[in-house]
Amino acid sequence: MSDVLLSFLIYAIPANLIGGTAFLSGRKRAQMEGLEYFAIYGPYVAFVTMSAGYLNHPESLANNATFHTFAVVLQPIGSGVLGGLTLMPRLFIQPAERLKRLKVTAICTLAMMAVYMMSRLMLFAVLGASYE
């Protein structure tokens, strides 16, 4: 199984546990639409971007089992928890217009991606430097 697929599957577990619950109850309470469900995968994009930027030779990760497990198994879980939280503010802020609702979701997704990227930037830099 490729690392990208594995990390996506592991990401999807906490993201759907937390974000899926928020989405299901938000369908009734906060008029969420199907499009907004995909916002929970925003931090995964950030995760893949940072992995590709710093660990751009995925095969080199396989040489070190500890770092490999850490980057492919543990990091997607931490990222998935943030991803699940993306839909949380939508339950509290419920504008009447459709565009404003989408705007709230978009800002939350960007904020979560930014939080994920800024807190993991140095982690990936350290991991990337340790392969050279």
Binding site: V81, L85, M88, P89, L91
Partner: protein
């Protein structure tokens, strides 16, 4: 920034996202779910994990060393990201029905432990790597 000053700064920066997210949950949950005031203090538990991790890796005297960029990264950036997770602690209380005080505290305690564990295991190699850099 050194010693008590950086702990204070770190706590202040932690409290901003934690109170934006967790405080919103708390204020809404007071009416809807009967959140107790005691449960508000659970949102500060991930900060203790951050302090334990930095204390374990960098010593307890000051949060980090003199290196300005590493100091800023840990004191400012990590505290903000930790606060986002800390604000999420009251979140599962909205979905799990709890009537008695015991059940309420059990759900909050379980979510506190899970969030703290998620924070600790995703940052442990980060702190180990930064310690190796110094």
């Amino acid at each position: 920034m050194s010693g008590a000053e950086s702990y204070f700064l770190s706590f202040t920066l932690y409290a901003i996202p934690a109170n934006i997210i967790g405080g919103m949950c708390f204020v809404i949950g007071r009416e809807k779910l009967g959140l107790m005031r005691l449960e508000y203090f659970f949102i500060y538990v991930p900060w203790l994990v951050l302090i334990l991790l930095t204390g374990g890796f960098f010593g307890t005297g000051a949060m980090v060393t003199d290196d300005m960029s590493l100091n800023t990264f840990i004191t400012l950036v990590q505290s903000i990201a930790c606060g986002v997770l800390g604000g999420a602690i009251l979140w599962p209380r909205f979905y799990f029905k709890a009537e008695t005080t015991n059940e309420k505290l059990r759900i909050t305690a379980l979510s506190t432990i899970s969030v703290s564990v998620v924070y600790a295991f995703t940052r442990i190699i980060l702190f180990a790597g930064i310690q190796a850099l110094m």
